[in-house]
C-alpha cells in the first residue's frame, strides 16, 4: 500500500531524512517513534507529498508521490491525515468541517456529504456537537472530529502525525480509543506517536527513527521484547521506565 524506498531530504545543507526505506502493507498498522527531531513527522508528511523530498521514491497504492506528473491533490484526497494540532477550520461549524472537502473535492451532493459526515461524527461519539464551532470543543473532541473529517473521504490509508501530543493527559485516551477501533477494523495506518501503549495494543510493526534514519524496523513483539539497536534500547528504557 505504502512503499518508501531510499528517501532522503535536505533543508539546505542539513539532512533531515537519510536513506529511509520501509513498507506498509494493506491493513497493517505501523507505529513510528523516536526522539524529537528524528525526522518522523517529516517522513510521514512525505508520504502524502506535504513535504517534498530530494532522493528516493514513495509509492502509495501504485502512484509515485515524488513524480512531477502525479496529481497530488487527487492522491491526498485518498489518504487521510490527522495532525498534532487538529487543524479543524475555525471559521466553519463541525458539520461544515466534515462536509467541505467531500463536496468540493469529491463532488458529493450536499445531503450525501452531510449524512456521511454526521454518521462519522456519531461514530466518534460527538453527534451532539454538530452545530458547534471548533473553538467550542475540547482538544480531544476536536481531534476526534479531525479523524472523522479524514474518514469522511473514504481513505485507503490513514496517516497520524503525533495525534495526541498536544492533548491534556485525560483526553489522550478518548482519541486513542477511536484509533484502536479503527485499527481493529482493518484500516491501513501509519502513526507517529510516543504512545507505546497504543503500539503494544494494535501495531503490527514499530519503526524507530533517530537523526533522520530508520534505525529499527521490527515486528511489535520483537521491538518491545529485544530491540536490536542500542539507541532503540535506550529510548525504550527511558519512556517505559515510568
Amino acid at each position: 500500500m505504502i512503499s518508501i524506498q531510499n528517501v532522503s531530504k535536505w533543508y539546505g545543507d542539513f539532512q533531515v531524512l537519510s536513506d529511509c526505506s520501509t513498507e506498509v502493507q494493506k491493513g497493517e498498522v505501523v507505529v513510528v517513534c523516536g526522539p524529537s527531531g528524528s525526522g518522523k513527522s517529516t517522513l510521514i508528511k512525505c508520504v502524502n507529498g506535504l513535504e517534498p523530498f530530494q532522493a528516493g521514491t514513495i509509492v502509495v497504492d501504485g502512484t509515485s508521490v515524488g513524480s512531477p506528473k502525479t496529481d497530488l491533490p487527487k492522491l491526498r484526497s485518498r489518504v487521510g491525515m490527522v495532525f498534532q494540532h487538529f487543524e479543524l477550520f475555525p471559521h466553519l461549524s463541525i458539520t461544515e468541517n466534515l462536509t467541505l472537502a467531500q463536496r468540493k473535492v469529491l463532488g458529493r451532493k450536499d445531503d450525501e456529504a452531510r449524512r456521511k459526515g454526521l454518521a462519522l461524527l456519531d461514530r466518534v461519539g460527538l453527534s451532539a456537537h454538530a452545530a458547534k464551532f471548533p473553538g467550542q470543543l475540547s482538544g480531544g473532541q476536536q481531534q476526534r472530529v479531525a479523524i472523522a473529517r479524514a474518514l469522511a473521504m473514504d481513505p485507503i490509508a490513514m496517516l497520524f502525525d503525533e495525534p495526541t501530543s498536544a492533548l491534556d493527559p485525560e483526553m489522550i485516551n478518548e482519541v486513542l480509543d477511536v484509533m484502536v477501533e479503527l485499527a481493529r477494523e482493518g484500516m491501513t495506518m501509519m502513526v507517529v506517536t510516543h504512545e507505546m501503549g497504543f503500539a503494544r495494543k494494535v501495531a503490527n510493526r514499530v519503526i524507530f527513527m533517530d537523526r533522520g534514519a530508520i534505525v529499527e524496523d521490527a515486528d511489535k513483539d520483537e521491538f518491545f521484547g529485544s530491540p536490536r539497536s542500542e539507541r532503540a534500547q535506550a529510548f525504550l528504557s527511558k519512556i517505559l521506565s515510568h
Binding site: 508528511k45 502524502n48 506535504l50 497530488l72 491533490p73 487527487k74 491526498r76 484526497s77 485518498r78 489518504v79 487521510g80 491525515m81 495532525f83 494540532h85 487543524e87 479543524l88 477550520f89 475555525p90 471559521h91 467541505l100 472537502a101 468540493k104 473535492v105 469529491l106 473529517r149 479524514a150 473521504m153
Partner: protein
Amino acid sequence: MDFTQIVNAFPSLGDGLLLTLELTVLAVIGGVVIGTLLALARLSNSRVLSWLAGFYVNYFRSIPLLLVITWFYFVVPFMVGWVTGTNQPIGAFTSCLIAFMMFEAAYFCEIVRAGIQSISKGQVNAAYALGMTYGQAMRLVVLPLAFRKMTPLLLQQSIILFQDTSLVYAVGLMDFLNVARSQGDITGELHTFLLFAGLVYFVISFGASTLVKRLQKRLTV
C-alpha cells in the same frame, strides 16, 4: 455665521456626499479585489509574478495620490479608447475611481499579504491533505480566515480612503468637500461651509472608526 445657507444648500451637499460615498465604496471593493490578486501574486512561487507585484506596490506607495489622480484623468481616456477602439470621452468620476482602485490596491495588497501570512502552515496543510488544490485551499480556507483577521485593518484603510477622496477637487469632480467649498464661495459663507464639511467628515470617520474598534474587540475574543 448663517446656518440657513447650509440648510438651503442641503440638496447639492447631499449629491456631493453621495458621490463621495459612492467613490469610497466602489474604490474599496475594487481596491480589495485587485489588492488580493496582487497579494497572491506577491506570495506566489513564480519569481516574475512576485517581482512584478512587488514593483507595482512599491511604485504606487512611492508617489503622491494627487499625482495619480491627475495623471489618470489625462491618461485613462486614452487607455480606454485604445482598448475599446472608440474615442468616447470618459468622465472624471470613472478616471478617479480607477485611480483610487489602483492606488489603494497597493495598500490593500500589503494588508491582505500580512493576513495570508498570518494563517498557520498547519491550516494550509490540512486543506491540502484533504485533497484541495491551491485555488481551493486559498478560496475555502486561507482567504476566509485571513479576511476575518484583516477586517479591522481593511476598514481603517477604507476610512483613510474616504478622507482622501476629497483630492478629486483637482480634476473638478464635485464631491462633498468641493460642493461645500463652491457653495461657500457662492453664498459668501465659506467659513461656515468649511466648518460644516469638517464636522461631517469628522462624524463619519470617527463614527466608523469607533465601530471598527468595537468590531476588533469582538473579533479578538
